[in-house]
């Protein structure tokens, strides 16, 4: 693929250019060979499926037997599919529920660990990071056990303070809060480690100078650290945006998408349509609409945050 694109260029120019470019390509056969596995695999498992999926989105197919052309039917159905729009809405709701808290907490913890005043830096960093390495299935079921309504540890502990049992997994908002707890538990350490690395690239002199001039720690944090860290914060937030629409194992193990679809995410919905209901055409249409929405959201975020970077 690489060779054909570069070979096409000389056709625009006089033919005299043909020989040197061709020679360049022959000379560069080694790097082409070295990078070719990626492009080969991408054509087979990325490009072709992306096109195939677009085609399937205009069809009805159970995975076996004939493929039936249905035009825009899947898309018109999709716009009336309240579960799908609920799943999109859930992605947004979950994003606003956990991303601000998680990002802020990650930054604060990173600033604390980065200041030389804390003892046990490595121990705390390890403890905070360890949930990240636990597989989400084990984590999800452990949280389920902890949040069980009648006998779970969390409600038992709340019972000591005479707080009535909270229906963590049995109510819509309880389910969402539980999910956010699991996501924050799993991802806080990861985000903190990234912020910590970001903090280590900006010098302490600025904050120290501000403190000498009479700024307190909170002022130094909001007026110096946060603006300097904007690119790292942006990275973390953009990743979390895609993450909140893409929660899969978390949902599968903890809430199953319920109660009343309050915690279903687009990826779970698409997966179910494809591999439980075998509506392959419909699932493909969903995937395309989902992709468009995520793409626009990410672009908006980058633009919004990007503008404010000096």
């Amino acid at each position: 693929m690489a060779e054909s694109t570069t070979m096409l260029q000389p056709d625009v120019h006089p033919t005299a250019h043909r020989r040197p470019v061709w020679r360049d390509i022959v000379k560069a056969r080694w790097p082409y060979l070295f990078i070719s596995p990626f492009y080969l695999l991408f054509i087979i498992f990325g490009l072709y499926p992306t096109i195939q999926s677009l085609y399937l989105s205009f069809t009805e197919w159970k995975g076996l037997g004939p493929i039936k052309q249905v035009g825009l039917k899947n898309y018109t159905l999709l716009f009336q599919d309240h579960v799908f729009w609920q799943s999109m809405e859930n992605g947004v709701i979950l994003f606003f529920m956990y991303v601000p808290i998680m990002t802020f907490l990650a930054l604060v913890l990173a600033v604390i660990l980065n200041s030389k005043r804390v003892r046990g830096f490595r121990l705390f960093r390890t403890i905070l990071f360890i949930p990240y390495i636990m597989n989400i299935v084990a984590a999800g079921f452990t949280f389920r056990l902890l949040l069980e309504q009648k006998y779970g540890l969390v409600n038992s502990l709340l019972g000591i303070f005479h707080i009535p049992p909270v229906p963590w997994l049995e109510s819509m908002w309880g389910g969402r809060v539980s999910l956010c707890l699991l996501v924050i538990w799993a991802w806080l350490g990861y985000n903190m480690v990234i912020m910590l690395a970001g903090l280590q690239t900006i010098s302490n002199e600025l904050t120290e100078a501000a403190m000498i001039d009479g700024a307190d720690q909170a002022q130094a944090f909001f007026y110096i650290t946060v603006p300097m860290m904007r690119p790292v914060i942006l990275f973390s937030v953009v990743l979390s945006t895609m993450g909140s629409f893409n929660l899969f194992g978390e949902i599968y193990t903890l809430t199953g998408g319920g109660p009343m679809n309050a915690t279903i995410t687009p990826i779970v919905d698409i997966f179910n349509q494809a591999f439980a209901n075998f509506r392959l055409g419909y699932a493909s249409a969903m995937a395309y609409v989902y992709f468009m929405i995520i793409f626009v959201l990410t672009l908006l975020q980058v633009r919004y945050f990007g503008q404010r970077v000096d």
Binding site: F38, L41, Y48, P49, L109, F124, E148, G159, A287, Y290
Partner: protein, 280 residues
């Protein structure tokens, strides 16, 4: 002066309170998982909760070993998939990174931009057609779908390109004068020099593959091929009938190998994770 010191002490108290509070939140699920896996069934939901049972035993673990498909088979599956996926990925990603970092060739900038651009395509779009491809290849219920498609991935090539860029070219030129071929230079000179980068990236790949849930859920059908996350999931019974002690024991088993690897290679692992975020 006194006020200043007081506020400093107060600040320290708040700081440590936050750190310890968050640490408890992070550790609690691990403690409860281990505790549940060792408890007799009637104490799992005891009130008040029992953390260390007087009747602790390894019976849940023994049960897992004596299953028709022993948990050791699943440990082996998970390891075989994660290990082969990691090796294959490291090879193709460092080779590709080498191609981009140390050569000039027509279309280089365009090809690299294209490579980065492919990362925005979500898995949801390719999920169904890739499944059909795997079915046509008769690869359902085999390990291949979990190893081959990601063998050369954009993130890994990007990562290795950054890493290999910093390798000195003099040593390569010296080898070239000695008549070494381009692949020999990669294999004998580049690879040993980039070992720390390979370790960082390898740990990320290994963990991703070991913990992968959706891939095995789609492709692995028979219990003797299951990976550990699938085993844990398969233990969910009807409401109130889930055998929590066994499920938590399987969870502990799935965690321990990664925990050991992480504690040994912690620095390299964190380097790998932050390199992708802060420099990119």
């Amino acid at each position: 002066m006194f006020v200043r010191r007081l506020s400093r002490t107060l600040g320290d108290v708040v700081m440590y309170a936050l750190l310890i509070g968050v640490s408890i939140f992070m550790l609690l699920p691990f403690v409860w998982m281990l505790s549940t896996s060792l408890k007799p069934a009637d104490e799992i939901f005891a009130l008040p909760p029992i953390i260390i049972s007087a009747h602790s035993s390894l019976k849940a673990y023994i049960y897992l070993l004596q299953q028709q498909v022993s948990i050791l088979v699943n440990v082996r599956n998970t390891f075989v998939i994660a290990f082969s996926a990691t090796i294959v990925r490291l090879f193709f990603c460092s080779l590709g990174g080498y191609g981009f970092a140390k050569f000039k060739f027509p279309g280089q900038g365009w090809l690299f931009g294209f490579l980065l651009g492919t990362m925005i395509i979500p898995g949801a779009i390719t999920m169904v057609p890739v499944y059909i491809i795997m079915r046509n290849l008769k690869w359902i219920d085999t390990f291949w779908p979990l190893i081959i498609p990601g063998a050369a991935n954009a993130f890994g090539i990007f990562f290795m390109r950054q890493y290999i860029s910093s390798v000195s070219e003099e040593i390569m030129d010296a080898a070239r004068i000695d008549g070494a071929g381009e692949f020999a230079i990669f294999w004998r000179i580049i690879l040993p020099v980039i070992a720390p980068g390979l370790t960082s990236l390898g740990l990320i790949f290994f963990m991703g593959s070991w913990n992968d849930f959706m891939g095995p859920l789609i492709y692995l059908k028979s219990p003797q091929n299951f990976t550990l996350p699938l085993v844990i999931r398969s233990m969910i019974g009807p409401v109130g009938r889930t055998v929590y002690d066994v499920q938590m024991a399987a969870s502990v088993i799935s965690l321990i190998p990664l925990l050991i690897i992480f504690l040994i290679f912690q620095r390299r692992f964190l380097e790998g994770i932050t390199a992708g975020a802060v420099k990119g």
